[in-house]
């Protein structure tokens, strides 16, 4: 039998979810045996979905998979494991009160009969051969995140995996741990293990991989050999800006008004308890749009949620109109004149409720009578005002909003927040998933509000939007502001690099 050179061949993979969301479209992925293959793309590009298909966890709607030249059809991860595939998730699947050894035994016992001493011997061998620094008899909960990750990798190696999938492995690691980690990957490669490395970090992709498949919006943009491209090329491909942007001539008045929102050295933890926002400071003036650019998942959501009082602040202050509002409740902060348009319409609206019920969501207080009854007449006339003023196309005010198109949902959501004439608007991905007409509508609305003196914090992963609307741009990466400046000071390439965590090697 000839030596097979291709480890993985996924062709024509399409994944459509039951709700109609197309996660992947005709994606091809070829990984050579023994290489480290990068899978680069922004969040939502489909990287993880593709890998979960390879790992047998979800079934593709279409497409074929070959492992070492053999066509396979996985019914579940157990089938993938038998073919020598192992996956390490961002969220570990270890049992905290068990020791490392117990975790290893448990994971192996799901595929074969094992005895503890054999497992121990084998683990020791692997640990020695790659110099993996893992204690076997310590409870997992006592270990650092970095060590836990090594336990996960050990777990995969114990099953004699030939292919190792790593999903954003460095996102939980500190910079020094990252270096150690990459070193370990090189050792694994020398042992002949094929590695797929999912990331959106350009520097890591460039430094560790042999070749890279770049995904964007569920499609393959390109497959490149790592040593033939630089980080700038990668940034361009990942973000997808082949065309040079026209910066609109209509800039705002150069001098915006007085400072209305001030964020000082904010530290916020995410749901996992990790520090997602690490000392962010910025100011927002009346009559300006500050664009916060960044790849999704770099602390934007946590930052915004901390400002509106939804998420506890670890350290730092939020000052709104000269008043320290850190730790106040969302309703209180909304009441003071701050509006938040969340990045998901499923959060900003209750999709199963009708238009009227949705129009009172964030300011219920204003619709209560003295006796505490909801005055539905008032709510109804209010919602019909939103519908009229913001051109929401609906059948009936009593239809659940899930039947509205995305554009109309967004008009309703934005309209509901804007109609109160807030002093500050935080808009997260305000045009995400909208068609051109709705996008233009929302964008010109934001500009109009800015011209009327409203301060707007625009959180967006869409660089077009950032360039088109912002008076100032701030770039966030791993919970830190990488740079702040006027749009003219950034080129798309530079912005792409900053968003990928590469500090300016480009002249400004």
């Amino acid at each position: 039998m000839p030596e097979e050179k291709t480890a993985i061949e996924m062709s024509n993979i399409t994944k459509i979810y039951p709700d109609g969301v197309v996660a992947l479209r005709n994606v091809d992925l070829i990984v050579k045996k023994g290489e480290i293959h990068g899978l680069l793309g922004e969040n939502g590009a489909g990287k993880t979905t593709l890998m979960r298909i390879l790992y047998g966890e979800i079934k593709p709607s279409k497409g074929t998979i070959k492992i070492f030249g053999k066509k396979v059809r996985f019914r579940g991860p157990w089938d993938a494991i038998k073919e020598g595939i192992g996956m390490v998730y961002q969220h570990f699947s270890l049992i905290p009160p068990f020791t490392v050894l117990e975790n290893l035994v448990l994971s192996l016992s799901s595929i074969a009969k094992v005895n503890v001493n054999e497992v121990k011997e084998k683990a020791k061998n692997i640990i020695e051969s790659i110099g993996l620094n893992v204690p076997l008899n310590v409870r997992v909960e006592m270990l650092d995140v970095g060590v836990q990750q090594r336990v996960e990798i050990l777990k995969v190696l114990m099953r004699d995996a030939k292919i190792l999938i790593l999903d954003e492995p460095t996102s939980v690691l500190t910079p020094t741990e990252v270096n150690e980690f990459l070193e370990m990957l090189r050792k694994l490669k020398k042992m002949g293990i094929t590695i797929i490395f999912i990331t959106h970090k350009l520097k890591e992709a460039k430094s560790i991989t042999d070749s890279i498949t770049i995904l964007r919006k569920g499609r393959v943009v390109d497959v490149v050999e790592t040593n033939k491209v630089n980080e700038i090329d990668l940034a361009k491909m990942m973000i997808g800006r082949e065309t040079i942007l026209k910066i609109p001539e209509k800039r705002s008045r150069p001098e915006a008004g007085s400072v209305i929102l001030k964020v000082e050295n904010l530290h916020v933890r995410d749901d996992k308890g990790l520090l997602a926002v690490k000392g962010v400071s910025f100011i927002l003036r009346e009559g300006e749009i500050l664009g916060l650019a960044g790849v999704q998942g770099n602390g934007q959501r946590e930052l915004v949620e901390a400002i509106i009082g939804y998420r506890p602040v670890e350290k730092g202050r939020v000052i709104f109109m000269g008043e320290d509002v850190t730790g106040r409740s969302p309703s209180e902060i909304y009441g003071k004149g701050l509006a938040y348009i969340p990045d998901s319409r499923a959060i900003g609206l209750v999709l199963d409720m009708d238009v009227i019920s949705n129009s009172i969501l964030t300011r219920l207080k204003n619709f209560l009578s003295k006796g505490g009854r909801i005055v539905w007449d008032k709510a109804q006339s209010f919602s019909s005002k939103i519908v009229k003023d913001f051109e929401v196309v609906i059948d009936s005010l009593k239809a659940p909003v899930k039947y509205l198109s995305g554009g109309n949902q967004q008009r309703l959501l934005v309209g509901r927040e804007v109609i109160w004439k807030p002093k500050v608007i935080i808009a997260a991905e305000p045009t995400h998933g909208l068609d051109i007409a709705a996008t233009e509508y929302i964008r010109s609305l934001l500009v109009e509000l800015r011209d009327r003196g409203t301060a707007i914090l625009l959180v967006s992963t869409d660089l077009d939007e950032i360039f088109q609307l912002s008076d100032r741009i701030a770039v966030i990466y791993e919970g830190e502001i990488m740079a702040t400046g006027r749009p003219e000071e950034f080129t798309p390439e530079k912005l792409g690099l900053l968003m990928g965590g590469v500090k300016c090697q480009v002249k400004s």
Binding site: T14, I16, G20, V22, S61, Y310, V350, S357, T362, I374
Partner: protein
């Protein structure tokens, strides 16, 4: 999407619901009739007994519906907040016991009913606090509490509260605390039925006209939206369980104060009604008005099947199965709709994939 098409005709959602319901119940009847015929019973007689046997005594029918109406609410309201309250049974027992004690000591029927509700509410509070702050699944807690309360009350009635004259019964509710009959022309009904309708209206008001109800509904439909709007979904869950417990407790109290006037040592007058409430809430689509209709329909079937057993010698199992067929038929439109939406996405996947290849 407020209208639906059936062939060439177009209906409003409301009309469509009526057609759908009638159609599915008719289908259920036909299937039941076929089963009866195959087994050698007269299908027409059987079905007419099943459907109309319960109507012979409207007062008993409505009284029976009263209790499952209240336990139906006890399931429905927590459901709005996303919780599965199967403690209606226990809450009902404890509500009945509390009402009995209050009635014996104070002689005040209204107070007894309110205190019964209060006792149920406390139970709801305990379960929800365990769920929200300790992560204990509410279903598990409820199952255990149901059993514990059942045996505790049996013990109290047989050992402490028994009536010396009839030892399998508890002490009687004093006359001053009893709710009696309401005369409506030739009809007489127990006063507790209209009283329960007032509680139903009250629950409707809370759910749809107060901040509390709005917060419960938003939290259940979308906890993330609730948090975004500054609503604490945990508090909403607790509130919903308190409310649900209150109504189940009231149900138990109404049973004791306005119908039985005592509790029996095996709790036969309430046994299973907490669970009937779950079915009623599901059938009534968690809507208070739907629950009223469903509980009457449900009681009709139960009484009808008893009548069928009595007059046609149909075994209990078969009679229950036929009621079941009708209830399943009733819920078929849901299943059908789920199937259709599943098929639609399948088709979308095909079209989508071809479109892009």
């Amino acid at each position: 999407m407020s209208s639906k098409k059936l062939g060439k005709l177009e209906f409003t959602e409301y009309e469509f619901f009526i057609i759908e319901t009638t159609g599915s119940v008719a289908a259920g009847l036909i299937v039941s009739g076929i089963i009866l015929a195959i087994l050698g019973y007269n299908p027409l007689r059987g079905l007419s007994l099943l459907l109309f046997g319960g109507i012979r005594n409207p007062d008993y029918l409505l009284s029976r519906a009263t209790f499952i109406m209240m336990t139906g609410l006890a399931f429905a309201i927590p459901m709005y907040a996303g919780l599965f309250n199967i403690n209606g049974e226990g809450e009902m027992y404890i509500g009945g016991l509390t009402a009995l004690l209050v009635a014996i000591y104070t002689g005040n029927g209204f107070l007894a009913i309110l205190m019964g509700g209060f006792a149920g509410a406390v139970l709801g509070l305990i379960i929800s606090v365990l769920r929200v702050y300790r992560g204990v699944n509410e279903v598990v807690t409820a199952i255990m509490l149901n059993m514990a309360i059942y045996y505790m009350i049996i013990y109290l009635i047989t050992a402490k509260l028994y009536d010396p004259v009839a030892p399998h019964e508890s002490l009687k509710v004093p006359a001053s605390a009893r709710f009696g009959l309401l005369k409506l022309g030739v009809f007489r009904i127990h006063i507790i039925f209209p009283l329960a309708l007032i509680f139903i209206a009250f629950s409707y008001y809370i759910l749809y006209f107060t901040k509390l109800g709005y917060e419960i509904r938003v939290s259940g439909l979308s906890p993330a939206s609730a948090k975004y709007a500054g609503i604490d979904p945990n508090k909403a869950m607790i509130n919903s369980m308190i409310l649900g417990g209150f109504f189940a407790g009231v149900g138990g109290a109404l049973n004791v104060i306005g119908f039985m006037y005592y509790m029996d040592s095996m709790l036969t007058s309430m046994h299973g009604m907490g669970f009937d409430g779950i079915g009623v809430a599901l059938m009534g689509r968690n809507n208070p008005i739907g629950i009223v209709l469903a509980s009457i329909f449900f009681s009709m079937l139960i009484l009808g099947s008893q009548r069928m057993q009595l007059l046609m010698r149909v075994p209990k199992e078969l009679a229950d199965a036929l009621s079941g067929v009708i209830i399943i038929a009733f819920s078929l439109p849901y299943a059908y709709r789920m199937l259709i939406s599943y098929l639609r996405t399948r088709r979308m996947i095909k079209v989508g994939a071809e479109h892009h290849s």
